[in-house]
Amino acid sequence: MLVLLSRQALLSFYAILIAVIVLLHQALPLWYSAILVVLLLYRWPLQQSSSKVNKLKRINIIAASILLLLLISIKQSGVFHFMIQILLLSATCRLVLIHQRHDSHQLLWVLYFLLACCFIFYQSMLVSLLILALLMFTLYSHYQLYASKQHKIQLLQLGKAILLTLPIWISMFLLFPRLQPLWRIPTAETAVTGLADSLDPGSIENLVQSDKLAFRAIFEDSLPPRQQLYWRAKVYEDFDGRSWTVNQRFERRQPASRQPVNNNVERTLSYQIIAEVSNQRSLFALGMPVQYTSVVRPASAYLVEARRPVSQRLSYQLTSILSAVPEDIALEQRLNSRTVSANPKTKALARELTSKASSTAGLIDQISEMFRQQPYFYSLNPPGLGENSIDAFLFDSRTGFCSHYASATAVLLREAGVPARVVGGYQGGVWHEEQQYLEVRQREAHAWVEYYDNNGWQRFDPTAVIAPERVLAGLDAALSADEQDQLQANWRRLSAFNYLSQQLLHLDYYWSVWVLGFDDNQQHNLWQQLKAAGKLLALLGTLLITVLILWWYLHLQRQPAEFAAPVLLVRRYFGKVLANKPAGQHFSQFIAELKAHNLADANLLGKIDMLYQRAVYADDQQALLQLEQHLKQNASTLARLNWPEKQTSA
């Protein structure tokens, strides 16, 4: 069957494909996007060329050479991106060649698949809605292919269709069983965001300049005090005299379940975290996590990590004990007591402090005292430091950000013989009371110290000593006005804009919780609730069915009756006598016969016959009313009408 595609259909396919190319630009090298666009222009101005066979051959050659190029660059792009590139290539070549409706099937198929792939790259609400709109447009174009040209979609019909599909759609999403991932999916190599694996004296300052969201947290109970909100993400244990790096032991897998040391003593805290895309494994946890959801697993030093690098928004549930983290492996203390030969002045200072202090706690007090008493400053723009960075910071510049203080403190402690390490993560966050969630941005990035004492790694935050506002009220409070300006992008200063973007963020939050965060756990809970409410549901179901039946019945009633009203009336009042009327006989003839047998009622019968004729054939409403009246008044007479056969049989 030959049905040519309309120009409109072709144009809408062009629009959809170009939108998809733009959406998937992350997976495409720039040169490849350019090639695709040029290929699309090949068909301009959308006319059917005569040499179709030639064209097919040409396109095939072009496609084969592009495929070769893609194969060469597969190492760079990775398998998943390669798949997307090939799909886009096939869609483009198809679109250049199609003429008939039949040809568009493959194109539509690939377009649907590519639209789904867009969701791997984007999950924020706005872009998702955009993709959804694009999907709707694709469906509309698809529909138009098979609908009559003059046909316009009517709103009522569309509404009915949506009403029909929406419940199926939603209930499938809520109730259809979900599988665990079946195979390891290839992940693309993309830029890593968030805390890096090494901590230079300047790295956190750079991170803090970013306004990007790191994660959101929802607490089952109330929000813990701000001083407790130290989100651990990375533990830095190797120090080379200048920067801290993550030890290799973090690359090893940890046993899946770890027994909590003493579970019933401390207060536990349950919370849900929705982590943004960071493309690294490390996730965020408070204190010592004891219960994990299946998407995350424990890492060394009581950290939490994802099973795969976080390439899309990830939601997970944790239960933590807000106490010092216990020792993870036996070697841990030795590992964190290593010192390097750099920073001689710091060594001397450490020796001096140790001699004054009697215990580890005393040493901590000494260090705090030092930072507080002597002229140390907290600044977003510390001066550059030399080779012996700790010496330069402690004795010369005396100005630094959290990473400087944490780094210096950890070195001091190690020189004094106390195992110590730097922990990177986030501190605090912005609490949204109305929406009940904590928003943690990159600007909340922080570094602090953990030292080993009393069978556990105790937390010590030197920044809290220098700038207690940082911990109690957030970064803005601790910075000077100039520095605050530095952090805020120009557009953020407009309050209306700020307000709008904040509202959007809240919407995005609900989107993450309700749509993105819905997992098999919640589905299981929903099933449980449905089972528990089984009786109620059965009741509702029966109610619904009764309503439907009633509606159906009323609907039937409204349909035109099989017989006209006068016929029904006559049938009702004449009763059994009417059974003697032969099927083909006219009512008047029948009445005439009746008159002959019932001479006494001849007048009445004549009157009825006359009214009946007028009601049936002249559509006389008055006559119909009179007929009904007459029949009603003489109901008993009519019931007693004689019929000869009856008499003979009796």
Partner: protein
């Protein structure tokens, strides 16, 4: 193998007949509408499965949402496809005839209260016709092969609306028959005869008298103006100079097989020529004879006789 196939088709036809007995007009009900996924529909279902796997593997709710949405679209397409065909009343024109090997255009009426989309009708798979959107009439081609009187084959009414995912089909057994007359075959002899009679007819152009109308007179000779004035006694032009032309007798020789076919074809051509010139003709066939006459009805009668012999 072949017998199995034919037995299967026979069984299938029987099954169809049981579901839908022959009728002059058939209303498409649930019982006789068959919906099967088209090839594209099967690919689409594969797409749904793939999207579900993609969604679970990436644990991406949005892809899952999309796949479920496409599932609900599939279900919607199913119901829409059914509603597109449901409650259409199909009937066709009563008298159908064609000459052998000609394509008979069967006028099929699809009556529905609500507008329907992109319906296609065909008797044989490769000759589909679309129903125009604003008309309920469609001419469905039917290729005829041999002369005779045949029941109308199954009429398929099919629609791919709304997404091309489902092949919504109904195969109707309409209680109609059609005539296939012998194929007219031009011959020299008849041509010369035709010319002769043509000359005679041209002579008859200058009619000067009239006579009263007799059954079988050509309508071309009717005096219409007079008829309007006096409808009770219709008159026709009459040429007294040339006498009533001798009726031609068309004889079908008593042969069989290919020879009979050729004879019938030639006779058919001759008959049509004579009819065109309004010359009376009679038919002698198989000891049967149809007395000479003229006019459309007479022609039809003779042609039918030839179709059946």
């Amino acid at each position: 193998m072949k017998s199995l196939k034919s037995r299967l088709t026979q069984w299938f036809n029987h099954w169809l007949d049981k579901r839908q007995p022959k009728a002059r007009a058939v209303t498409l009900t649930q019982k006789i509408i068959y919906i099967l996924p088209s090839r594209f529909g099967l690919w689409y279902i594969l797409l749904l499965v793939l999207l579900y796997l993609l969604g679970t593997n990436y644990q991406n709710n949005l892809i899952l949402l999309m796949s479920y949405m496409l599932v609900s679209v599939l279900l919607l397409a199913l119901t829409l496809a059914w509603r597109n065909l449901h409650n259409i009343t199909v009937s066709c024109a009563p008298v159908l005839s064609a000459y052998a090997t000609e394509t008979l255009m069967v006028p099929v009426t699809l009556h529905a209260t609500t507008p329907r989309q992109q319906l296609q009708c065909y008797f044989k798979q490769h000759q589909q016709t679309f129903v125009a959107d604003n008309s309920q009439q469609v001419m469905v081609p039917l290729v005829t092969e041999h002369r005779g009187y045949f029941p109308l084959p199954r009429l398929s009414v099919i629609s791919y609306y709304p997404f091309g995912l489902f092949n919504c089909k109904s195969m109707l057994n309409l209680d109609y028959h059609y005539w296939v007359f012998p194929k007219p075959l031009a011959t020299e002899a008849i041509n010369s005869l035709g010319e002769n009679s043509g000359n005679k007819n041209q002579l008859a152009d200058d009619y000067d008298t009239i006579r009263s109308y007799q059954a079988g007179d050509s309508l071309k000779l009717m005096l219409w103006k007079r008829l309007a004035r006096d409808p009770a006694t219709p008159v026709v032009k009459h040429a007294p100079t040339s006498p009533q032309p001798e009726p031609d007798w068309i004889n079908i020789p008593a042969v069989s097989g290919a020879a009979l076919e050729v004879a019938l074809s030639k006779a058919c051509y001759l008959m049509l020529q004579l009819e065109q010139r309004s010359k009376p003709y009679g038919l002698r066939i198989n000891n049967k004879s149809i007395s000479p006459s003229c006019g459309q009805q007479h022609l039809e009668r003779c042609l039918r006789e030839m179709a059946l012999c």
